[in-house]
Every structure is written in structure tokens, then in C-alpha cells.
Amino acid sequence: MNGEHVIEVKSLRKSFGPTKVVDGIGFNVEKGDVFGFLGPNGAGKTTTMRMMLGLVYPDEGSVTINGYNIAKDFLNAIRGVGAIVETPRFYPYLTGRQNLLQIANLHPRLPGSRIDEVLDMVGLTGRAANRVGTYSLGMKQRLGIARALLNHPSVVFLDEPTNGLDPQGMKEIREMISQLALEQDITFFISTHLLHEVEQICNKVTILNKGRLIARGTVKELLGKDNELVEISTPDAGKALEILTGIGYVKSVKPGLGGLEVELERGRSAELNGLLVSHSVMVNYLVPKNQSLEQFFIELTEGGHQVA
């Protein structure tokens, strides 16, 4: 571990009634990270985030932001933070600008011009005088980001920032995050249930399932693996399986829909195809498969990626 820990989370636990929602998790976020907090619905991402921000009190454990303990030194810990928790909420009867003003008023030393700056950054200057009740989901998401950036935060928490957006909207938000991380030196903590979102914008990732961490590391280590997954459609699945067993660059073979599912070293699929054809195995087609979060989980738990 090098670098400065902007966020330190130690053995957080939280139950709502009898259900353990977060069950002893800990991790560090370093300065400059775009830290992915990946987990399926109900994994406990939002609850963890609420504990990190001092909204929900943990049963156990501690959170430190910029060196300040959120429970003991809330005002200092929260000072450098911008955040969106769940979908961004607004006062629908106030305008976009008035909504931002509500937050600017909580930071007495912030110049009034900062509101215009952040509105401009998210491209909402033209709609700032309209009531937020009239905004589309994408506009609300962008206004939420503007609000999270208002107080010049050094660390920004975003909870599923692309949830409910169309592909274009997702792309815009992701590009904005990458750009901000790069140009303004902001550390991001981003929760998501989308594996490819992590691949696209994060450098680190921690994976949460049922309130427990099941893996963590750099995105390169965990996701940008040297292997890829292809689906082979063939009537001769049995024979193909025989041929592929024992080939060095083939990591695993499993029966799949109408054929086999093969994990192999990246860039060797043409070779694989050639091999099968040379053994007179009919290959109808060979498709690269995008890994779903569920598959990835199965693989993680089988593949021995364990949390230290």
C-alpha cells in the first residue's frame, strides 16, 4: 500500500432488526482512485455508503475520511466530501439553481459564482431557472453531480450514478467522472451493480455480496484478466471437449447452450477455431461472451480470489 488513504473503512457492521445488512467490511481508498464498489441489488452498497457519510450509525466499526473519524469529528470529515446517495433527490418546487443554493448556503465561504460554474460543467446552465419537477431523469442525475461538486470536494461518493439512464446518458456520466478524476484530482467512490461500468471507469474495485466483501484489488487484477470467454456452437460438443482438454491456452471448458463455453487466453480464439476444424469438429459459430456479474461471482468464489 502506497499513497494516502482518503477513506479508511474498518470492520463495519450493521443490522436492521434481525437482518445483517453489512457484515464486517473494511477497505481503503487512496488519493486519486476511482474506486468501484460493486455488488448486486441488496448487497448493502447504499447502507455502507450511508454509514460512511454519517447518515446511518454502524453497530460496529469505523470510517475515516481525510483523516477525520466520521463519528467523532463529523464536521471535519464531511467538509471535503460531495455525495449522491441513491437517486439524487431535489425539492421539485424549487428551480435547479435554487436547489443548488440550498447547499451553497451550508458552505458560507463558497462564492456565489460557484453555482454557475458547476451548472456549466454539467451543461444545465440553460435550464437552471426551471423547476426541478420538470427535469428528466438524466438532467436530475447531472444536477445531482453538479450539487456533489459544489463545495470543491476532494472525494465524491456516487451511488449507482448511471442507474435508469439510457446508453447515451450513461456514456456522458461516465466520461464526466473520468474527466473530473483526471483534471480536478477528485477521488471517487462509486457504487454500481454493473461490471462493465467498473471496467470502464474504475482503477480499483471492491466486491460486495450479501453484506460481505468477496474480492478486492485493482481492476486489472480482477477484471481485465488475461483470459476471455467464448461460446462455441457445435453439434460435436463431446468430441470438442476431448480435444480441448489438455490444451495449454484453454483454461476451462464447460458445456454451454448448444455447445461449449470455453475460457481461454485472450487473443487465441482463432487458433482454437483452427484446432477444432483441423480435428473435423463442425463449428457453427464462436461468440465472445460478456461476463455478467453473476458469472463473475461464481468464478470468483470458485477461482480462489479471496479477500485477505
Binding site: F74, I78, Q102, L106
Partner: protein, 262 residues
């Protein structure tokens, strides 16, 4: 702190409900006109200069408690459930200060609404009944007539509206405490209306309980300016003080310990 209060006031005044409420107060001012037409006013001596004081009881017992419940439902219950309370709480503001700002904003709104009602009372009263020669106020319950000069009457009216802030704010603190335990603003308002009705019934059927019922002290202005009963004013101050401070402290504790999950 001033900024926090400003935030609350911006939200309250941008909300349609305030204007609906003000419109209702306007309507309430026309009720005596209806009573005059139907003759149900009897021989109560109403004039423009006494009209606001006559209206005050209606405001205190009915209009303002509902108004206060609606404002608090917006400021606390709905703010929490809509997830907007979270917005302020993830900035360098302590929960205690936020609550204090909300209470002060409420006090401001109560004051402004009473002022609005007072002005409206003078305008409607004078237009409907004429200003009148003398300030004669008849207490409807005891049927006692209180007579003052116009100037004294004006001061008494002003003072009556001013001291009425205290019982209303105390009532507000009770609603505040309730507000943290509801999941919908509408349910809170409904409950508070029920509470006001229940309290007045309770006062009727168990008169011995009256001294501890908050609505008994809505008539603080009468003790202070008409009966001039110092002992009763002292008791009122003590009881209202308890009604203000205890729920406020409990609300503060509730908010400080609360998991903000919306």
C-alpha cells in the same frame, strides 16, 4: 445559522401549501359575514377594531394548529421520507443546528401568519362592520364585556396576537416530536387534527385535566390582557414552557440518534 433558517424559509415560502393556507385564512375572515347574514351572531358587539380579537380564538383553536401541522409535516416528515433531509446532513452542519433552524423558521412562520391574520382581520372587520366607536369585547364563554378606549383596544389586540405565539410554538414542539415518528406527512396532519379535537373533548368531559392540557393555554391572551390574572399567566408560562422544552429536547435526541435511511 442564519443561512440555515433562510433555507427553511425559502422552502416553506416556495411551497404551494402556504398560499392555500393563506387563502383559507382569508375565507375564515368571511365567516362572520355569513353569520351576520344568517343572524347567528346574536347581540355580540362586533366592530372593525374588535374583529381581530374575536377571530383570534378561531385561529388558535382551529386554523393555526392545522397550519402548524402542515408546515412541520413538510419540514420534517416529508423532508425525511423524500430523502431531502439527507442533502443537508451530508454537509458540515450538525443535526442539532439543523433542527434549531427548522424550529426558528417555524416560529417565524407562526409570527408572520398571525400578523397576516391580524391585518386581514382589521381590513375585513372594518369593511364588514365599520370601525366602531368603542372597543367592546365580549368573552363568548363567560359573556363578560370588556370595554376599552380604541387605543388601548389596539394595544391589547396586538399584545394578544403576540403572546399567542407562545402556545402555538409549544403546540408546534409537540407536533415536531410526533413528526419524527411518521412515515407520511399526510398521516401526521391527520393525527394532529385528531389530537386537537380529542384534546378539546377531553377538556370538556374531564375539566380537572384542563390545567395540563395544552389547548387550555391557547387562551393565554385572555389571562394576560382580559382577566389580568397573574397567577394563571404564571401557570401558563410554566406549563407551556414544559410543553415546549420537553418535546424539543426529545426531538433533538431522536434526530441525533436516527439512522437516516431515506
Amino acid at each position: 445559522m442564519l443561512n440555515l433558517i433562510k433555507n427553511e424559509l425559502i422552502k416553506l415560502t416556495a411551497n404551494k401549501k402556504l398560499y392555500v393556507g393563506m387563502f383559507i385564512i382569508l375565507g375564515v375572515n368571511l365567516l362572520p359575514l355569513l353569520e351576520m347574514v344568517t343572524g347567528s351572531l346574536g347581540d355580540i358587539p362586533i366592530a372593525g377594531q374588535t374583529f381581530p380579537l374575536y377571530m383570534l380564538s378561531t385561529y388558535l383553536n382551529v386554523v393555526m394548529p392545522i397550519f402548524i401541522s402542515v408546515l412541520i409535516a413538510d419540514m420534517i416528515t416529508d423532508d425525511y421520507v423524500n430523502g431531502t433531509l439527507t442533502l443537508s446532513l451530508i454537509h458540515p452542519v450538525s443535526r442539532g443546528r439543523l433542527l434549531a433552524a427548522k424550529v426558528l423558521a417555524l416560529a417565524t412562520m407562526i409570527t408572520l401568519l398571525l400578523l397576516y391574520s391580524l391585518l386581514l382581520g382589521y381590513v375585513f372587520g372594518s369593511v364588514i362592520f365599520g370601525w366602531g366607536e368603542q372597543f367592546i369585547y365580549q368573552d363568548v364563554v363567560s359573556e363578560t364585556n370588556y370595554t376599552f378606549s380604541a387605543a388601548t383596544g389596539f394595544v391589547i389586540t396586538l399584545g394578544s396576537y403576540a403572546v399567542s405565539i407562545a402556545p402555538l410554538l409549544a403546540f408546534g414542539m409537540v407536533v415536531l416530536l410526533l413528526a419524527f415518528h411518521f412515515n407520511s406527512g399526510g398521516a401526521l396532519v391527520g393525527t394532529c387534527i385528531g389530537l386537537v379535537i380529542a384534546l378539546s373533548f377531553l377538556g370538556e368531559i374531564a375539566q380537572g385535566l384542563r390545567p395540563v392540557l395544552i389547548n387550555h393555554y391557547f387562551a393565554l391572551f385572555k389571562y394576560a390582557f382580559l382577566d389580568k390574572n397573574t397567577a394563571q399567566v404564571m401557570v401558563a408560562v410554566l406549563v407551556l414552557g414544559a410543553y415546549s422544552i420537553v418535546p424539543l429536547m426529545l426531538s433533538l435526541r431522536t434526530l441525533k440518534k436516527k439512522d437516516i435511511v431515506y
